[in-house]
Amino acid sequence: MSERDLMEFDVVIVGAGPAGLATAIRLAQADPAPSVCVVEKGAEVGAHILSGAVIETRGLDELIPDWRERGAPLETPVEREELYLLRDAQRSWRIPEAISPPSLHNSGNYLVSLGNLCRWLAAEAESLGVEIFPGFAATEVLFGEHGEVIGVATGDMGIGADGRPKDNHAPGVELRARQTVFAEGCRGHLGKQLYQRFGLDAESTPQHHALGIKELWEIAADRHELGLVQHGTGWPLPEGTHGGFFLYHLSRCQVAVGLIVDLDYPNPWLSPFDEFQRMKHHPLFAATLEGGRRIAYGARALAKGGFDALPRQHFPGGCLAGCEGGTLDNAKLKGVHTALKSGMLVAEEILAAFAVGDPGGRELTGLEARLRASWLYEDLRVGRNFGRSLHRFGTLLGGAVNSLDQRLLGGRRPIRRPGDAPDHTWLEPAALSEPLSYPGPDGVLSCFDRLSSVYLANTAHEEDQPCHLHLADPSIPTGSNLAEYAEPAQRYCPAGVYELVGEGGDDPRLQINAANCVHCKTCDIKDPAANITWVAPEGGSGPNYPNM
């Protein structure tokens, strides 16, 4: 094999999401600016990112104060909002604004496509001299002789399924840096290795996750109300399973509809994908979606542990930024403004170190104090009871408790943590759980199967490449996972990657349709035996989300 190229920068950033791009932009705004490179595994910036999204402008105001004049794609201000509790398949309660938790109020916020926002941020970064390499997946952390991070390597291109180089093989590139920033988003695959190697979560509770599934619809003009935001919880999620939905009326008669399901759910029969499809039959959604057509689909895990799960953000030679460092504000259900802020804090700490001649490879411990002094930390602290209340008191009472807590006590009321066990440990045996059945696809209003959905994620993987979903022990899926949990991967995966073939026969086997993968990372999080490791496939593979 030919040698890997080697390139050197002052700072290398993994992931062109809001956190990585905010880091890059803040660094590049400095004078003199360090050299900055961003690698992104999607075929273009924005191809792999997915969010609701309602965003608070605070982060963007600080990063690029004249974003309005510069044409940032924040087109739709929130005009009106509604909060619901769905009681069953027909009924819902509208929760009056006067008693809903203040953190859920969205006046002054904007509805955006996070993908388009990232595309715009990337153009801003490039105009400041940042090198962005889309289609390059960082697959390896590079360590120096003292165990410090000295950069990352991107994966080889053109490796066959048999692991051998093909005719068009091109070796990866070593990107070396004085500081490396990991901004891969929730459950980044290099970040996971760093957590383990440096014990980044030794002082915090395990991270908690949720799976968000989203569709974009084009609806009839007379059912569309520009700027309307609807949130809620309740049906169809069964008791003991937490989550909530969103429905946003965007420009061009498009609406974003989605369901977020916490991944500490206990019932192995649960299928978040089917819950979402079923949810859209509720009159609240049907009234909006009927006569429309679905134009895009996607899914992504999110890190919602908030304050309690906040890991150490620094280690020798590098830092975490954004959701990789768990900065999503779960009480506000928002992570974009906090990711931007997190990126800026990291950049400012790096600039401060470089200003006094930091040679690189050091641990930027000052990041901790910088974080603690920021509004980001204060917001997460105030919001920490939000999730705890919902878990402890249930959705309805917990919501009321949250409202009182935030209004009167500023989030100071002590509430016990929901549990320090990671998400994959919460499944109960299938035999002791109530089997759930879901209506089959009707393909018209709201029910689709996984494959027709994945089709709308525009996901593409070169077929002749090694499987990017690694099983530590290949016997587990059809062994203990099947016996105890009826192999839940076939249900939690929102893209139909995991398929049990020959179930009930003598020789069942798990078929991994890796080409369907939308890079949501749920399998890496929820497998009861923690047996699945998601690694980055060949650069440029994966979904191609437009406007998501």
């Binding site: 190229d5 075929a43 289609g135 291109m157 068009n168 091109a170 525009n458 593409a460 437009p546």
Partner: protein, 250 residues
């Protein structure tokens, strides 16, 4: 020898094409765009000829609004030496003939020994520009090429024709359009992306080239194909035959 490679910016082949709800066109808002796959093969072929010492300069050219510079950068990162952007208005109504006229004017200016371009674009699927360009210039043409070799004063090409493969010898200068099997384009290396930013992209337009390009066909409406009706499961061979007879296919 100088090789001119015209390339086109099109919707990425991995993206599902969606028609706008008013049927006025395909929706391209924020959709991933890419270099047309056949054009990418042409760039690869040109760069290989230069690497083999058969050519000394590869010039990529694209006709379109500002965004086409992205694809010119891709061609530069693949190994083209310089690029020319022929600017047209965002809403310019150009068809294959107009494009061919602009390219012909450019060829007269640049005097390349070879024009290498994709046989067709995956959006319009016209398969006309190469042929029209050769006609306007009075150059020999080799279309749907899956093999090529530079020989003393000319070039030998293998064409994919209906009945099999046809080998032609052409005198230079010539126009060649590439088919899928000519090569597999390389993966772009990160250092080459950085180098491509230092390569020049010259700017020109219809006026500078002295061309008033012909208008293209007018797009009236775009409709997606009817969705396929679901199949049914039959219980027996007898029922299958019965159904096929009902459908009058046997």
């Amino acid at each position: 020898m100088k090789i001119l490679v015209p390339i086109k910016r099109v919707i990425d082949y991995n993206v599902r094409v969606r028609v706008k709800s008013d049927h006025s066109d395909v929706d391209l808002a924020n959709v991933k765009m890419a270099i047309n796959p056949f054009c990418e093969i042409a760039v690869e072929a040109a760069v290989r000829l230069r690497e083999d010492g058969k050519a000394d300069e590869v010039v990529a050219v694209s006709v379109g609004p500002k965004a086409v510079q992205e694809q010119l950068r891709t061609a530069l990162a693949m190994g083209a030496d310089r690029a020319i952007w022929v600017e047209t208005a965002e809403d310019a109504d150009l068809g294959p003939l107009g494009i061919a006229q602009l390219l012909a004017a450019l060829v007269r200016e640049e005097q390349p020994g070879l024009v290498l371009l994709g046989k067709q674009s995956i959006d319009g699927d016209n398969n006309q520009v190469g042929q029209m360009l050769a006609g306007l210039l009075g150059y020999p043409q080799g279309t749907f090429v899956s093999g090529l070799e530079v020989v003393d004063e000319g070039i030998e090409v293998v064409r994919e024709v209906d009945g099999g493969l046809q080998t032609l010898a052409l005198r230079l200068p010539a126009v060649i359009t590439t088919d899928l099997r000519l090569n597999t384009p390389r993966f772009i290396r990160a250092p080459d992306i950085m180098k491509s930013r230092r390569k020049p992209i010259a700017h020109t337009g219809a006026e500078q080239l002295g061309v008033s390009p012909a208008a293209g066909p007018r797009l009236l409406a775009v409709h997606p194909p009817e969705p396929r009706a679901g199949g049914i499961r039959v219980e027996s061979v007898g029922e299958l035959l019965e159904r096929l007879r009902q459908a009058q296919v046997i």
